[in-house]
Amino acid sequence: MAPGKARALASEEVDKVIMADKSVECKGICKSYQRLFGSGTMVLKDISLDIDAAEIFGLLGPNGSGKTTLISIFSTLIYPEQGHLRIMGLDAKRDKDVIRKLINISSAKPNFPWSLTVKENLRHYGMLYGLHGSTLAKTVEDQIDAFELGEYRDMKFEDLSTGLKQRLSLAKAMLNRPRLLFLDEPTTGLDPDMSMKTRLLIQRIHHEQGVSVVLSTHYMPEAEMLCDRIAFLRKGEIVALDTPQNLKNHLGLGERVVVRYVGPMDIAKLEEVPGVLSVTAVSGRAEIVIDRSTENLDRIIKLFSRANILDISIKEPDLEDVFLELAR
């Protein structure tokens, strides 16, 4: 191909990416880990979903549910056995070389060459992305600053704490200014302060730089804070896909009324109240899950008339409840 035509093709592909309103479109993705001899284990079964470029999308699920495998497929690190995948409007199979220039990933358990320092690692990976000269030097310094790695710049990877390794992984993921960022449990191992900073940074990258984000997480507050939509995976299948609010509403999880009391109380009568989904009572503390607290709270409190109520609280269901419900 003539150089001029090659440039034109690259330009078309870039245009396609800019115009794409979906960061990920996948249909019927299946994956098993094959062995050299013998059959493999199926880890993803018929995954179909579309992710808008404008949203931060979350993948939730218990350990072994297939989150990391799915993110690895989306990032073209590994290939699915079946199904169709488009990343930013580009065919993941045909256009994988272009896609790899436009994406990056931060792993849940980050690993880098042990004896390279923070700065050397960033420099090495920057070179792999084709950065050079003053651009390379500036990009490395920018990421060191953005992730507050300045005082650790000359520390070897093997000497970094878990949190610092995670920060280095995030810094590496931003080296090539990706259009689509995959974050596999991005705050695992970070202290609360750095976790919050990282979440705010993810929001800032998304809103200010227009970077599409697909992340997996175990932290429900993180998913609730960051994600516009969530897919819940269990045993390699999507069992729920919606906004965090809709997931909570549609699952009918009910509200949690916790009553601390002293004195006699007939727990069996609580279970007979209409709308009560479950009751758990242990040593002066009753936890009652009801579907509409506003209608039924009065009846419940009347049952405590012979006891002395010390404290009463009502908690709406959160993603943690969704997680526990869906992971069953």
């Binding site: 495998t69 690190l77 990976y125």
Partner: protein, 261 residues
């Protein structure tokens, strides 16, 4: 992408190998200890056997070739071995790079290290055993080194393919394959003394031809340098294609992810 950006994709592997090597005390063993052990043991053997200058040159050319081959091939293999040992292989293969970026970047560093070892061995063999390795002039030396380094690249690529095909346990190939070369490519004896089946194997290995070529500087004899060069170029090309295919296969089987966990 600019040519500087493309060049840096190659240099990335050389940069990583250089940093890791300079911080690893065992690099000194690779650069000085084992090469010296190899040269001294063969050099002293020639004294014990009281062989003539022709045989001394035959054996020392073999010893020097094997040593620089081992140094350069391990550097090419290190491009994946370091990533595999540190479980960072996914970070490399998520980047927009090809097999040739990795191989030629690592080979560049291997050539530098191999050249340092070569210089040391040439000097030591001159002073201790009176052997003038450079007698043929710079061109034969350059041709000989190019041959050895190209074979080193092929062995290094084979190690990388083994890792991506068989997983972590395949790192043993990094140290085993040069042993096979030692046995069959006429390092310490001519290929003609091998059994017929192994002679066929020896004739399929380019190093056999490069050794015969360089030994002809000291002991005039027939050689087929052109065939050696063609075989080396062929194996290097096929090796790169197979390396690319093994990367694609590792993406399909998921071994790239497993090697990172």
């Amino acid at each position: 992408m600019s040519w500087q950006g493309e060049l840096n994709k190659y240099l990335a592997s050389a940069y990583k190998n250089w940093i890791i090597s300079k911080r690893n005390v065992f690099t000194l063993f690779e650069l000085f200890f084992w090469p010296m052990i190899s040269l001294l043991s063969i050099g002293l053997l020639t004294r014990f056997l009281n062989v003539g200058p022709g045989m001394v040159s035959f054996l020392l050319v073999g010893a020097i070739a094997l040593t620089i081959l081992q140094v350069a091939q391990i550097d090419v293999a290190y491009v994946l071995l370091f990533d595999m040992w540190s479980k960072s292989i996914k970070n490399t293969f998520i980047a927009p790079i090809k097999s040739y970026h990795l191989v030629f970047g690592a080979l560049l560093f291997g050539i530098v290290r191999g050249s340092v070892v070569f210089a040391i061995l040439v000097i030591v063999s001159h002073y201790l055993f009176g052997f003038d390795f450079l007698r043929g002039g710079p061109l034969p030396v350059l041709i000989f080194l190019a041959g050895v380094f190209s074979v080193a690249a092929v062995i290094g690529i084979t190690v990388c393919i083994s890792i991506l095909t068989f997983g972590q346990k395949a790192d043993v190939a990094a140290w085993s394959l040069s042993g096979l070369i030692l046995l069959v490519s006429g390092i310490y004896y001519p290929a003609e003394v091998l059994p017929p089946a192994l002679q066929m194997l020896a004739r399929a290995i380019p190093l056999t031809y490069f050794l015969e070529y360089y030994r002809s500087v000291f002991i005039p004899g027939p050689h087929n340098l052109a065939l050696g060069a063609v075989l080396a170029a062929l194996y290097l090309s096929v090796g790169l294609i197979l390396f690319d295919r093994s990367i694609e296969r590792a993406r399909r089987t998921g071994i790239l992810l497993r090697l990172s966990e």
